[in-house]
Symmetry: C2
Subunit: 250 residues, 2 copies
């Protein structure tokens, strides 16, 4: 038996997130189905995170154990031939048997796209949150900078989450614009449940005049989910990259 | 009655092209349905071009006559509320009653996207032609420059087309790369049937070693469709812009 790390990319539109659940199609399930078709054996696949329904991933890492001798492009091509067209495997390599995609991740980068135009963009459906009033990306970028650093992000964690340690270190946070496309990007050593979507919802509420642009320090200080903004919808969110010790693929 | 010019954008994946046809859903049909729902009257809509099944449009122009007093954003919002999510109207303005979207067009710009990576990109499915071997975008850009000028493009017209005058003026042709995304863009005063897709197929055949990179002058000279390359698949093609006298929206 050997442990294989897969690097994949998926359009999450049609999926109820990563994790297998009853009565819903998930990415983990279609991947386990594909591995079973290729290797003849059902293998459990462990992911680097549990993305929500409708969330996308440009780079997602997962691992499974197999006796199959297939590696690299041969395994990628075999899996891609049987996977649905909205999921693709880019790399497949043997790793140390102690490797764990979630516990060994040193950090992640997410991006969140907003379509900021009067009318909807047919090509952004499912990939960007449509906000019709003009967003001031420079003011939002300055506001986002207050997220950087080691803070208790309890206020940016979905109510009801059972995680105990809510301190995380955000190393990058920025808002940029290209035409009607406004993008929030954030990098941290770890993310709490709904953390990026609540960050985006908070920036959104600033642009809507519901929160001042300098609100983030006080929200962090409060530790109160109710002090932050709305939870942005899932379809604008994309897991962009997962970093490991050697910053694999970085 | 007044003539209204609509500027729209659509993801062509689900459509059998622009033009109404029996037993297939087309963009013209869903737009005429939407106009009828808003105005209460069935109006014929004339388009600027007949895009093929699966082809997209970032900016498509069409016109219809109506007694409705709705204009501008009010008409856009009313139409967008009833149109499917893969079609959106951006502008709606009253134009001269002699305006014709096809005959009055001074030029068009198309882009064609290729995904040039070993494995497929789930986000490019339906929007880019997947070519696995490495494309030399600089050699292709130099080759594409041979398309520029006033030429008889008969060799770049689908066999069986009934058009008589096959002379067109190409004012811009370029191949660029951004990561795995290679894009061919071309601007001309008019396009023959399948002209852009045959141009792309010809560049593709150069990259595949089936045609030399300097083949275009001889292909143009021949006037022979068989001398050019394959017809690239429709889903990589997007009508990017239509130019009118005032270069509306340009």
């Amino acid at each position: 038996m050997a442990r294989i790390r897969l690097t994949l990319c998926y359009d999450g539109t049609a999926y109820h997130g990563w994790q297998v659940q009853p009565n819903a199609v998930t990415v983990q399930q279609v991947l386990q189905d594909a591995i079973e078709r290729i290797t003849g054996v059902r293998s459990g696949v462990t992911g680097c995170s549990r993305t929500d329904a409708g969330v996308h991933a440009r780079m997602f890492c997962c691992a499974f154990d197999t006796a199959s001798p297939l590696r690299g492009d041969k395994l990628c091509n075999a899996l891609n031939a049987v996977l649905p067209r909205d999921v693709a495997v880019y790399e497949a390599e043997e790793v140390d048997e102690a490797f764990h995609p979630r516990y060994d991740a040193k950090g992640k980068r997410y991006v969140y796209h907003l379509h900021n135009g009067r009318h909807r963009d047919p090509f952004a459906e499912g990939y960007a949150w449509h906000v019709r009033w003009p967003l001031d990306e420079q003011a939002l970028d300055r506001a986002a900078k207050d997220l950087i650093g080691t803070h208790d992000f309890a206020a940016f964690c979905a109510a009801g989450s059972s995680v105990e340690d809510t301190v995380r270190t955000v190393s990058h946070a920025a808002v940029t614009r290209e035409g009607d496309r406004v993008t929030f990007s954030v990098e941290a050593d770890g993310f709490l449940y709904n953390m990026v979507r609540i960050m985006v919802g908070t920036l959104h509420d600033m642009a809507a005049g519901k929160l001042p642009y300098d609100a983030i320090p006080a929200i962090l200080q409060s530790g109160d989910r109710a002090a932050a903004g709305v939870t942005a919808p899932p379809h604008g969110l994309c897991l962009e990259r997962v970093f490991y010790e050697e910053r694999k693929g970085g």
